[in-house]
């Protein structure tokens, strides 16, 4: 590195800013996790203190695990998120490939149409969606949620992936065609690996809102069998009494799966965000 960019004071300043930002971003999460291990009185008296031998308590976790079917809720959330994510990625990538690679009448129009969903929130159509689900008998099924989330995630996925796929060299695809690869092989073996960072970016941006969503589970699948974690945690939030131990524990637990998924994608994500900036 050159002298000019490695001076000590500058690097201290840069790190200070980054550390400050990290603290601000992580603070609420840490408060939630700390307090989930404390008993109720301690949560309110000393919300910032670490649990000690006196205040330490697993009561929240015990409530969560005893009451309701939290394992089932987790399972529902995971199934819905993972399946929707997979569908968004596969269909999004395929649509993006078609838009980026083939010239056909109405290509641009189709692209705009598919991107429209980015600007119009899907919740505006809640009533129609509910009617549709009732009519097709899908209320209180995970399928209903998966369908809605797939529709919700596709526009952005198509938009981002098409842009990245346009940048994959034509020569490479043509070389594949000369060697007799089918369009499917070209898509799966040549193009997809090259847009992996973009796929990871899309995956993260798709996954988080699905996992956190309260709206559609509440409306489309509020039954005990199909509840998601976010919805399940609501039972502890009463109008008059709130079981804070349980709420905090449930939230802490809910962080784990997204964290795992995020860690899987994050290496690729960073590459996706900085792609083009380097090199």
């Amino acid at each position: 590195m050159s002298r000019a960019t490695s001076s000590l004071s500058r690097s201290i300043a840069a790190h200070a800013i980054l550390i400050l930002y990290t603290v601000i971003a992580l603070f609420p999460v840490i408060v939630i996790i700390i307090n989930s291990f404390k008993e109720r009185r301690a949560i309110f008296r000393t919300p910032l203190a670490l649990p000690d031998s006196e205040t330490f308590s697993l009561i929240g976790y015990r409530t969560v695990l005893d009451q309701g079917n939290f394992l089932l809720y987790f399972q529902n959330s995971l199934i819905v998120t993972v399946v929707s994510l997979a569908l968004v990625l596969i269909f999004g990538a395929m649509a993006a490939f078609a838009l980026a690679e083939y010239r056909f009448r109405g290509n641009t129009l189709m692209g705009l149409y598919l991107a429209l969903g980015i600007m119009i929130p899907i919740r505006l159509g809640t009533v129609a969606i509910l009617e549709l689900m009732v009519a097709s008998g899908l209320v209180n099924t995970r399928t209903a949620l998966i369908l809605v989330y797939t529709a919700q995630g596709l526009p952005l996925a198509v938009f981002i992936l098409a842009e990245f796929m346009r940048q994959v060299s034509d020569d490479l695809k043509n070389a594949g065609r000369m060697d007799g690869l089918s369009e499917y092989r070209i898509f799966f073996r040549l193009v997809l690996p090259l847009v992996r960072p973009a796929m990871a970016t899309v995956a993260v941006f798709t996954m988080i809102p699905i996992w956190n969503d309260l709206w559609f589970p509440l409306i489309l699948a509020p039954a005990e069998q199909t509840k998601t974690v976010t919805l399940g945690a609501q039972i502890f939030l009463g109008q008059f009494v709130t079981n804070w131990n349980a709420v905090l524990s449930a939230l802490s637990l809910a962080i784990i799966p997204v964290l795992v998924l995020y860690l899987i994608f994050s290496r690729q994500l960073i590459r996706g965000i900085t792609a083009g900036a380097v090199k």
């Binding site: 010239r103 060299s169 020569d171 490479l172 043509n174 070389a175 594949g176 065609r177 000369m178 060697d179 007799g180 690869l181 073996r189 040549l190 690996p193 090259l194």
Partner: protein, 333 residues
């Protein structure tokens, strides 16, 4: 086996017509080079021949068979791309062998053909490397190897050397010339580079704005350019063009004289002029001369000459090397 015939090939992208009726016959074993300014449709024509684009109109015949319904991989063609286009996830051996594998050749045969090709190109030591671990020149050789392995009737090269540095370009050019002699295959080659075109080609096809301007051997084009465009395109530095009227010749039109066909004398000659700039290239000296009678002239002298800007010199064209073009730019015979 490997003749090619193009009949009235047209190609439009939307409303823009890129190829405007191309007719061409290439014989078996010929080395034909397409040259032309950027954007004139060379790559598009190559892609049409390969089957990567469908022609809007016209026919492509390979060995006398119309191939519009034949997919690229089944046309017996191999193509080398400007950007190498190696598969990033495969090592050199698999890159070269993929086409054969797709065609269902037996493993032993693939192995043997890849080995032969890699020996030919000096790639033996790199067979297990990925493209990312190779230098530019090595990648280009792998791309050529991938073409050779398939043992095609027809090779298509789209500016294969333009990403290489000057020294490597000369080496690879020699290799391609040798390859053509050894394989005796038909080759079609696109380039911007005059020297490549003149040194490699049996015949050169000059394209301009989607049309063929002239087809001929390098020396035919140099000695008998059919029109102003070809005269200006072949030869470096460019031919000098002078309005016929300025030289007192009868009729309108243009006179062309190549820089190497002008002699210079300090004391006497036909056109007096002042030196604007001198380029010393060692073997050659290029003079830019502002003359009263003929306008700005480029003159190429052999060897070293100690001229400096503002010197007054006299230029004399060698009459037997003058070209005459009519008003429309066609060569007068």
């Amino acid at each position: 086996m490997g003749s090619l015939k193009l009949e009235n090939i047209r190609k439009s992208f939307g409303k823009v017509e890129v190829l405007k009726g191309i007719d061409l016959e290439v014989e078996d074993g010929e080395f034909v080079i397409f040259v032309g300014p950027s954007g004139c449709g060379k790559s598009t024509l190559l892609r049409v021949i390969a089957g990567l684009e469908d022609a809007t109109e016209g026919q492509v015949l390979i060995d006398g068979v119309e191939v519009s319904a034949v997919p690229p991989a089944k046309r017996g063609i191999a193509m080398v791309f400007q950007s190498y286009a190696l598969y990033p996830h495969l090592n050199v051996r698999d890159n070269m062998g993929l086409g054969l594998k797709q065609a269902g050749s037996p493993r032993a045969e693939i192995r043997q053909r890849v080995d032969t090709a890699s020996k030919m190109l000096g790639l033996d030591d790199y067979l297990t490397r990925r493209p990312a671990e190779l230098s530019g020149g090595q990648r280009q050789r792998v791309a050529i190897g991938r073409a050779i392995v398939r043992n095609p009737k027809l090779f298509l090269f789209d500016e294969p050397l333009s990403n290489l540095d000057a020294a490597l370009r000369v080496n690879t050019r020699l290799e391609i010339a040798k390859l053509h002699r050894d394989l005796k295959a038909t080759m079609i080659y696109v380039t911007h580079d005059q020297v490549e075109a003149m040194t490699l080609a049996d015949r050169i096809v000059i394209l301009n704005q989607g049309r063929v301007e002239q087809i001929g051997s390098p020396m035919e084009l140099y000695n008998h350019p059919g029109n102003l465009f070809v005269a200006g395109f072949i030869g470096s530095p460019r031919m000098n063009f002078i309005e016929a009227g300025r030289l007192g010749e009868s009729g309108k039109g243009t006179i062309g004289i190549r820089p190497e066909h002008i002699t210079i004398d300090p004391s006497s000659g036909e056109w007096q002029g002042k030196v604007l700039h001198v380029e010393h290239l060692g073997a050659d000296t290029i003079l830019y001369l502002e003359s009263e009678k003929a306008g700005l002239l480029t003159v190429r002298l052999f060897g070293e000459h100690k001229f400096a800007p503002d010197d007054i010199l006299h230029a004399t064209p060698r009459r037997e090397h003058m070209f005459r073009f009519d008003e429309a730019g066609k060569a007068r015979t």
